[in-house]
Symmetry: C2
Subunit: 228 residues, 2 copies
C-alpha cells in the first residue's frame, strides 16, 4: 500500500478532487446458464488507467467485467458481468462525476432470448439470434449534464478514419485508438501504442507499457478537461 | 514441491506406471479476431483430477483450455484454445495411454466461418451460424485400441437419465454426473457433488471439495480399470 501510493508524491496532482469513473474488461453475454459470448479483453488497460488516475489525485470508481486482475488499493470496484449491468452501474456512478473513461470491451451484441436451461446439442447446426447491446458510452455522452467523455477505438483497419468518426458520432471529448491486429500491443499484451484524437488535435504515443501509457493518457485528459 | 508430493507417501499408489490423459477447462471458439463463444468452466475439477492422479502414482498429461489456474508440479500441460486443437492434442496424447478422462467443457458448437477481420457492428441484429464441434470423447472412445474412457455430464435436469444415455451412446467405461443448476457445486465453486455410473453399478459422492473428490474418483477409476 505504501509502495502503491509512492508515485502520488512524484506526480503532479492534476486530477486532485476529481471524480473519475472508468469501465474495464470484457462483458459476458449469456447464451444459456453455462454458455456465453465474450471477447479477448484482459482489462489491463482499464486497470492501469484506474491506478494512474488515483496516482494523479482522483477519486476512482472502476466498473469491471470478469478479469483475473487485482484491484489497486483505494479504488472502488463495481463488478458486473453483462452490458446491461455495466450500463446501470455507469448511469449510477457518472451522476456526480467529472470524467468518464469507457475502456471496457463491451459486447456489441447480446442474445435476443437467453435460454433458461442449458441447451441440448440435439441438432447439427445452431443459429444464434443476436441484437445490439445498449451503447453505454453514447448513452452517458448524450446526458444534459455529461461528464468529460473518453472512448476507445480498437480497430484492425483504417484506424484514424473509424476513430474520428466514432468520436463525432458519439459526442465524445476524446478518443484513444489502437490497432488490435498488431499482436505486440493487443488485448492480452502488457504494452500498448495509441493515437489520441480530440476535436482540435491529436497525438501519437509510441509503444510503452500500459501503466506508463495510462499516466500519459490521464495527463492529456486532465489538460483537455481544464481547457473545456 | 516437497509439500506437493507429500500425499503420495500416504496414498496407495493404485495408478503407479499408468499413463493418464485429462482434458480440462473451457474451449473458446472464435467468432472473429476479438470475439469468441465460451462457457463458465473454471478448470478446477480437471486440475484437481490431474493433481490427484499424480498423487496416486500416474504419469499425467493435462490438455487444458484457457484458465487462470496454476499447473501442479510434475504434470505435463498442453495448452489449447479451441475444440479442434483439443481434439488433435487428445489424439496425440492418448496413443500410449491407459486412462482418458474428458473433464473439459468443450464448446458444442463453433462458427461455420470465422470472420478474418473484426466484424463492424453496422446492423441492429446479427445471426451467428454455428455447426457442431467434433466430439472429442466419442472420437477417442471409438478407437480400436481405446484407453479406459471417463466422461462428465453437466446437467440442469434429469441427471441420471441423460448421464447413462451419454455413457452408452459414446461407448464410455464410466461417467461422472453433476447438477450444474446447483450453484453451491457449480462451475466456479471449489466444491462438487456427483453421481458416478459405470456399466454394472453406480455410486453417489456427497458434496466435498474438488481435490478430495478427485482422489475418490481416481480410486474408483483405478478399481474399475483393474476389473476390466
Amino acid at each position: 500500500q505504501i509502495i502503491n501510493l509512492l508515485p502520488s508524491f512524484f506526480l503532479p496532482q492534476v486530477l486532485a478532487n476529481k471524480n473519475i469513473t472508468i469501465t474495464a474488461g470484457p462483458t459476458r453475454e449469456a447464451i444459456d446458464p453455462v454458455r456465453y459470448i465474450s471477447n479477448h479483453s484482459s482489462g489491463k488497460m482499464g486497470y492501469a488507467l484506474a491506478q494512474a488516475a488515483q496516482w494523479l489525485g482522483a477519486k476512482v470508481n472502476l466498473i469491471s467485467g470478469p478479469t483475473s486482475l487485482e484491484t489497486p488499493g483505494g479504488i472502488t470496484k463495481i463488478s458486473i458481468s453483462d452490458a446491461e449491468q455495466m450500463l446501470q452501474a455507469a448511469q449510477e456512478y457518472t451522476q456526480n462525476c467529472d470524467i468518464f473513461i469507457s475502456c471496457a470491451a463491451v459486447a456489441d451484441y447480446k442474445m435476443k432470448q437467453v435460454a433458461p436451461q442449458k441447451m441440448k446439442k440435439t441438432s447439427d447446426e445452431l443459429t444464434l439470434e443476436l441484437e445490439r447491446n445498449p451503447d453505454i458510452l453514447a448513452s452517458i455522452a448524450s446526458l444534459a449534464q455529461k461528464p468529460f467523455c473518453v472512448g476507445f477505438a480498437a480497430e484492425t483497419q483504417n484506424l484514424a478514419h473509424y476513430a474520428k468518426d466514432k468520436m463525432q458520432r458519439k459526442n465524445l471529448d476524446m478518443i484513444i485508438a489502437n490497432d488490435v491486429s498488431n499482436q505486440a500491443i493487443g488485448f492480452n499484451s502488457n504494452d500498448n501504442a495509441v493515437t489520441v484524437f480530440w476535436p482540435k488535435g491529436s497525438v501519437e504515443i509510441e509503444q510503452t507499457d500500459k501503466q506508463n501509457l495510462a499516466i500519459h493518457l490521464l495527463q492529456l485528459i486532465a489538460a483537455q478537461y481544464e481547457e473545456k
